[in-house]
Assembly symmetry: none
Homo-oligomer: 404 residues x 2
């Protein structure tokens, strides 16, 4: 693949970058807040004061109008164009539970479901069984042996699990077995290209054995497979950008995406923002020059449509920010991976506010940190998220000159 | 060709989108208006009030500095990158008169002209003959038969007509026969590549026969051919974006471009904006979920350098806007296809103001609808026109999530 300018120009330097991501940070004007957003409403004296001494901007996660999943949204923040570097759902699912994927592994998402005596699906989620039941089923399925591959079945949550096939020459060009609707039978595993025939046979054998193993269970007496994806290693941030990156995240999904680009994933104990700040300090002590800090609560609150909780999540971050700033990073970025507007209760396409603090900036444009200030008074303008990393490298003095 | 994100993610939904295009809307600061633009000067209480409750932005029709023709400018608004989807002038001309082009047809624009006894062009527009004379000439030319192709000659207006060659293996790699200046002879039809040799012969035979047919006429005693273009079907908006689109336009050119992307072109009788509003209502009754409304007068006024008429055209639209808003569209966009600044009397490259009104927006940024507000207080920023359609789809809930 063609190398981008930052790949060609990146060089090591002792400076240190903090990329702090408030998941789902962006929002829209809320009538109940007199058309302010949660970020505008939140009491954020530290961010507001920093904004006046920083450059703001707004980022389009993938492309205009396109709502990203968490995987593509984070890849973009790490400098990986999500339209170029695609990660399948099965791979994200396996990464999300911390499974150590290897190159060539074939992963798929499992939904446990209920079928009637004629094999027709009556509940695609098997009544959302609890995690304990899920683990029993996974335990039972783990006994299945398929010739030619190693098999790993893992619990995700409720009715969701994932399966990983490890072996030579596996292909992910396979159609989902999920019929998508109740009242239909699970679909046979079909290869979408001739090269996928053997993989279809292997997965088909697994489905057949799983059917036998699950047949006497209730309500989860069958499974559906979706999102077949073969794991292909991405070039690491070290290879691309000469960085030595570390991730300080609590949720498995974000640890997974971080490890995908070669970040060292640090432990966080207990699972609090305070402990994350300590992990950031440790990352610097260990010599990392790029730290990705992931803060989840704003997104969870947005998905629940809980505006007060989203405001509280942002305020929690603002309170922790002084201790992060005290760590002595040379470049500090605060942003989101995407917007999660409370009235939508979903990820959205709306551009995400960004703050970049460093030396040698155009300061004094913004009166605070908000969507409005980022969009209207941003020295950085509106740009694709994938372009953030080169900007951070530049401020950190880690990008050489292009041409003479 | 690679599919773009919106092609992959578009899904049907009952929501309805109105794209209203005020042709040539954008302008520049006019000294006679104390440096306001016509849009700033126009009394537009409805647009101004809507702007405060909407997101504004400014769009670059093709790429920075590039002035578009009407065809590319509209294709971009319909989500077709004009740098990728090219339409030649001959094809646009044929579409503009409602000719039913088929795949592979070769079309060219005709200018009737006057030549002296030595064959030198003395008037490239033959004194702008009237449409009646034009129709007589076209009638005479329609009698010409050329072996191996079907021939269609059609009146456009005044001295302009078009010709369509239908047959196998035609190429549009042909040079114009128009010398571009009076005092020169018409240029021989020349192939621009070896593959176009046969097409050059066919067209050359037509020109020779036309010369004979026209020789005893006055003042239009010859023709010039320009803008050879072979018609290649575009993927429709239904195929690309899962839309069921309708066009409400009065001028043939815009009906033609709309039909090119698969829009149902609705009749408008009489040819008034009021009747266009009724046609929009009909489009919704017929189940269309995307309506393109084309309003021409601002562009015509701009091309005439008539600032007062341009202001009046904008005010006419503002007065009709409440009845459009009453139709219950879920997403309403108001914009132009390009700027037509009055002092230039031409299309221009200047970014075009845009207003998008929907739910779940960042509101209260703009105090009215104008170039200045769109550029300085736009929550949507400045972006290429081709990215508008994904944004409209997103607001209409017609775009799925990219990745997990």
């Amino acid at each position: 693949m063609d190398r981008e300018p930052a790949d060609l120009l990146a060089e090591r330097s002792p400076s240190r970058i903090l990329l702090s991501v408030l998941d789902g940070l962006g929002d829209v004007s809320l009538p109940e807040l007199e058309d302010r957003t949660p970020l505008e409403e939140a009491r954020t004296p530290v961010l507001d004061s920093l904004a006046a001494r920083s450059e703001l901007g707004a980022m389009v996660p993938v492309s205009p109008g396109v709502t990203p999943g968490s995987g593509p949204a984070h890849l973009a923040l790490f400098g990986y164009d999500p339209l170029r570097y695609r990660i399948g759902r099965g791979v994200l699912s396996a990464l999300g539970i911390g499974f150590d994927l290897r190159d060539g592994d074939l992963a798929a998402r499992i939904n446990f479901c209920t079928v009637d005596s004629s094999g027709v699906v009556t509940d695609r989620r098997a009544g959302r069984i609890d995690d304990g039941v899920n683990r029993e089923l996974v335990e039972a399925l783990s006994g299945i042996g398929i010739e030619g591959v190693e098999l790993f079945v893992r619990t995700v949550k409720q009715h969701r699990a994932c399966v990983i096939f490890r072996g030579e020459g596996l292909s992910d060009e396979l159609a989902d077995t999920d019929p998508g609707l109740v009242g239909r039978r699970p679909v046979q595993v079909e290869p979408l290209s001739p090269a996928a025939r053997r993989s279809a046979e292997i997965v088909g054998r697994f489905v057949q054995r799983a059917k036998e193993v699950l047949s006497d269970r209730s309500p989860a007496n069958m499974l559906l497979l979706r999102g077949f994806a073969r794991h292909v290693s991405l070039p690491s941030m070290r290879e691309r950008f000469a960085l030595d990156p570390a991730a300080v995240a609590i949720y498995p999904m974000y640890k997974g995406v971080a490890s995908l680009v070669g970040m060292k994933v640090l432990g966080v104990e207990p699972e609090t923002l305070e402990a994350q700040v300590r992990a950031c300090a440790l990352a610097l002590e260990q010599g990392h020059d790029f730290v990705f800090l992931h803060h989840k609560p704003a997104d969870s609150a947005g998905e629940d449509g809980d505006c007060a909780r989203k405001i509280a999540a942002i305020e929690e971050f603002d309170e922790a920010l002084p201790s992060l700033l005290d760590l002595g990073f040379d470049v500090v970025a605060v942003t989101g991976d995407h917007s999660t507007p409370c009235p939508m209760k979903l990820h959205s396409w709306h551009p995400v506010p960004l703050l970049v603090h460093s030396e040698n900036q155009r300061r004094g444009y913004a009166s605070g940190f908000s969507e409005r200030e980022a969009l209207l008074h941003g020295a950085l303008g509106v740009f694709p998220s994938k372009d953030l990393l080169p900007i951070l490298l530049a401020y950190a003095g880690k990008l050489g000159r292009f041409g003479a």
